[in-house]
């Protein structure tokens, strides 16, 4: 029941020597981040529920069924997914090397992660532009409206992550002892964002039978 352990913890047991106390604060930041991720998850779950419920109305058009659908050609989205995966892996490398005190890999990992994330956001924006040029505007059909909301909101969360990344970068330039902690938090956040993106991506391009089955299973139909 690791999810429930924060409830049983006696926080003062983390205090004590200055060294341990420092760890205690790290623990606090981790707890705060986990809580934030829970809230973000709720937010997207509710959006997904709205998507599923809306998909049961007769004017719904799936996004990736035929070649005339906006998401039929998914190559840019796959490429963007790779960028985000790369960012996630880079942060994981940085995290592992922060533990081993390997400064070079830590720095490379951190910087590359930021660049890959920026590439992801840029790629998403380019895909939006491409859709827009093809006439797939936000109010063209309801599924497309959801596509713009999902990708937009997800990109905003990557953007917020990049702000935190800037903080980590500043800590790196100052040679702050907090760097490894920041990298650790960033890595968790990016793994979450990557997982979230996969879920959203899968949902958006899935076949109507798939989400009809989910709706059926969850009893969300009207």
């Amino acid at each position: 029941m690791s999810f429930l352990t924060p409830l049983m913890e006696k926080p003062w047991e983390q205090a004590g020597s200055p060294q341990q106390q420092y760890l205690g604060r790290e623990h606090t930041r981790k707890a705060g981040l986990r809580l934030l991720l829970a809230v973000v998850s709720v937010l997207f779950v509710l959006f997904i529920v709205a998507f599923l419920m809306r998909s049961q109305y007769p004017d719904w058009q799936p996004l990736a069924e035929t070649s005339s659908n906006p998401l039929f050609n998914k190559s840019i989205l796959w490429l963007n997914s790779l960028y985000l995966l790369a960012a996630s892996i880079c942060l994981q490398v940085a995290r592992a090397n922060a533990r081993r005190q390997n400064r070079l890999f830590l720095r490379f990992g951190l910087i590359l992660a930021g660049l890959f994330s920026a590439a992801f956001v840029t790629g998403q924006l380019m895909f939006w532009q491409q859709l827009y040029q093809q006439g797939f505007v936000v109010n063209a059909n309801p599924a497309l409206s959801f596509f713009y909301i999902f990708t937009g909101l997800h990109a905003v969360h990557v953007g917020i992550g990049l702000l935190a990344w800037l903080g980590a970068l500043a800590a790196m330039l100052r040679n702050s002892p907090k760097l490894s902690q920041y990298v650790d938090l960033c890595a968790t956040y990016w793994h979450f964002l990557f997982g979230l993106w996969l879920v959203l991506f899968a949902l958006l391009v899935s076949k109507p039978e798939t989400y009809n089955a989910i709706v059926e299973f969850c009893g969300l139909g009207a």
């Binding site: 003062w12 606090t28 809580l35 419920m53 004017d59 409206s145």
Partner: protein
């Protein structure tokens, strides 16, 4: 024995870092409270204007139907979200959580500061809608589509957009605050402060914050999607519809989807306001009756039960929207079940008072007033929870009476009680008792005079949300007289609040010095070295918690209260 903690304490020095861009939870709490009270006054004035129209229809030229609906909408939204939610979580939560759990500050002070500034921004955006073309939205506080964004509803051009944007900003602010409150409770408690030793105030605010974190996203989702429908022409909630004889571009959207999302937020919102009130009232009653709270553990579990249950009752707000009868049955059942933990709390408050050494101080008066109004409002909730009773009553004044009793008057009485109780800690001065009692009796009796008769209006079938009641045969003249009386009382209660505001300001300068612990209370916030507590709250040493927060009138001791950090030498010797 006290725990030494080497803590980074960068005491702010300049005026700006100390009072404006402050990261100190106490300053932030006061900023939150002041903003909330100011915007609450706006909402109070709006309710007075509404009552002028209802009590004396046609006497005031400047109140036309559009203005009336705008007053209704803004009054509701401000009171529920920008006043009550903000003051309970941002105000009381910020001030009390770190002090009560023995922390030096919130765990993320910078985020906490951002929270209050986002809140201020949300309020400014909201109030700015009074000054845009078309005025604020008049869609009702529930903002149901399609009417909320269609021409014909007042403020459908700019008002609704500003309202939705303001809500989104508020949710960001509430989330940033909420992360702080929950993490602080979980991670920054002092030595010995187990969860089951925390004062119920902290429990109430903690659980309410959890609800806020999980429920506000639903409002965010609905606000974002409605904003898309309004500005980008999408059809999330908008069905194919004719407006002013024109076929609009919308097609296929579901207004019911909005209602589900809105009430998935909206019902927990009731408990976001109620749970802190429950917690605070428990502490007020215990302190001022000099008795330990009856059934502490049960009180905690009741708070948790209510919090969990509040997520599975939302559709009882939607009976008249039409639903599968089995759904109605399910939601009616859960709604009635939630009355059980709530009733447990009421019994426990009464049993705490039983044979207590009751001091009728001003905070105690407000707490007792709350038990009364909450019981009345809760009982009518049992009526309305049943589908068949709700259907005829839902669109009448019965509902207005119900929700104003249960989540208008009751929580605001607790806000007042809490302010009278903790003002001495926040300012170092006592509020004037005589003025306080005048304020209490005026507010308590006045609000009863307003809302109790509304139940009768509701049973008569007087519909709510109407601008005027001319030419309805089924509404007797006596109902109109009653409405006039209600309006007079509403103005009276509004004026009584001036006493409170005067008291707040006057006592700050001329009030009796309070000392560190004027109520002789046990919880940690009264055990600080200085009053008001300085930066970092505790001086050099963080207090250690040795007992629960309710050791009042313990046999065998000279003083009738044992503070939570009190070390019992006799027992220590035995051990």
């Amino acid at each position: 024995m006290e725990q030494e903690v080497d803590h980074e304490m960068h005491e702010p020095s300049s005026f700006f870092t100390k009072y404006v861009w402050s990261q100190d939870h106490k300053v932030i709490a006061i900023q939150y409270s002041v903003i909330a009270i100011l915007v609450g006054i706006v909402a109070l004035v709006l309710s007075g204007l509404m009552r002028l129209q209802l009590g004396f229809p046609g006497s005031f030229d400047f109140i036309d139907p559009s203005a009336y609906y705008q007053f209704v909408t803004m009054h509701g939204m401000i009171m529920v979200i920008y006043l009550l939610t903000a003051i309970f979580l941002g105000g009381f939560g910020n001030y009390l959580i770190p002090l009560m759990v023995g922390a030096r500050d919130m765990v993320f002070p910078f985020v906490n500061m951002l929270s209050v500034w986002f809140y201020l921004l949300a309020v400014i955006v909201l109030l700015s809608s009074f000054f845009v073309p078309g005025g604020p939205t008049g869609a009702g506080w529930t903002l149901y589509p399609p009417q909320a964004i269609l021409p014909g509803t007042p403020g459908s051009d700019w008002g609704i957009i500003l309202m939705l944007v303001s809500l989104a900003i508020f949710i960001v602010a509430a989330t940033m605050g909420g992360l702080n409150y929950v993490t602080t409770v979980l991670q920054a408690r002092t030595k010995g402060m187990t969860l089951m030793r925390m004062p119920l105030t902290v429990w109430g605010i903690f659980m309410a914050t959890v609800l806020a974190l999980l429920a506000f996203p639903a409002l965010f989702v609905s606000a974002v999607m409605m904003l898309f429908d309004k500005t980008l022409g999408t059809s999330f909630f908008m069905p194919a519809i004719l407006s002013m004889g024109q076929q609009l571009d919308h097609e296929g959207g579901s207004p019911i989807l909005f209602q589900h999302l809105f009430w998935f937020f909206g019902h927990p919102e009731v408990y976001i306001v109620a749970l802190p009130a429950f917690g605070i009232v428990s502490d007020l009653i215990s302190v001022h009756a000099r008795k330990n709270i009856f059934g502490y553990r049960l009180m905690v579990w009741a708070i948790i039960m209510i919090g969990v249950m509040s997520f599975v009752v939302w559709a009882h707000h939607m009976y008249i929207s039409g639903m599968n009868p089995y759904f109605g049955y399910f939601f009616a059942t859960t709604t009635l079940i939630i009355a059980v933990p709530t009733a447990i709390k009421v019994y426990n408050w009464v049993l705490t008072l039983w044979h207590g050494n009751i001091h009728l101080t001003v905070p105690m008066l407000f707490a007792l007033g709350f038990v009364s109004t909450f019981t009345i409002g809760g009982l009518t909730g049992l009526f309305l929870g049943n589908v068949v009773v709700d259907l005829p009553l839902s669109d009448t004044y019965f509902v207005v009476a119900h929700f104003h009793m249960v989540m208008g008057v009751s929580p605001i009485l607790v806000v007042f009680g809490g302010i009278y109780h903790w003002y001495p800690k926040m300012s170092g001065k006592m509020l004037h008792t005589g003025l306080g009692k005048l304020h209490f009796w005026g507010t308590f009796l006045g609000t009863y005079m307003i809302y109790f008769p509304m139940h009768y209006l509701g049973v008569l079938g007087v519909p709510r949300r109407y601008f005027a009641y001319e030419n309805y045969d089924f509404i007797p003249d006596s109902a109109k007289d009653l409405n006039a009386m209600i309006s007079v009382m509403a103005i009276f209660v509004a004026l009584v609040q001036l006493i409170f505001l005067f008291n707040l300001v006057w006592s700050l300068f001329k009030g009796k010095p309070a000392g560190d612990n004027p109520w002789e209370a046990t919880s940690l916030e009264w055990q600080t070295e200085t009053t008001p507590p300085g930066h970092g709250n505790w001086g050099k040493h963080i207090p250690i918690c040795h007992r629960w927060a309710y050791d009042y009138s313990v046999p065998g001791y000279e003083q009738d209260f044992l503070p939570q950090n009190f070390v019992d030498d006799k027992k220590a010797g035995e051990l």
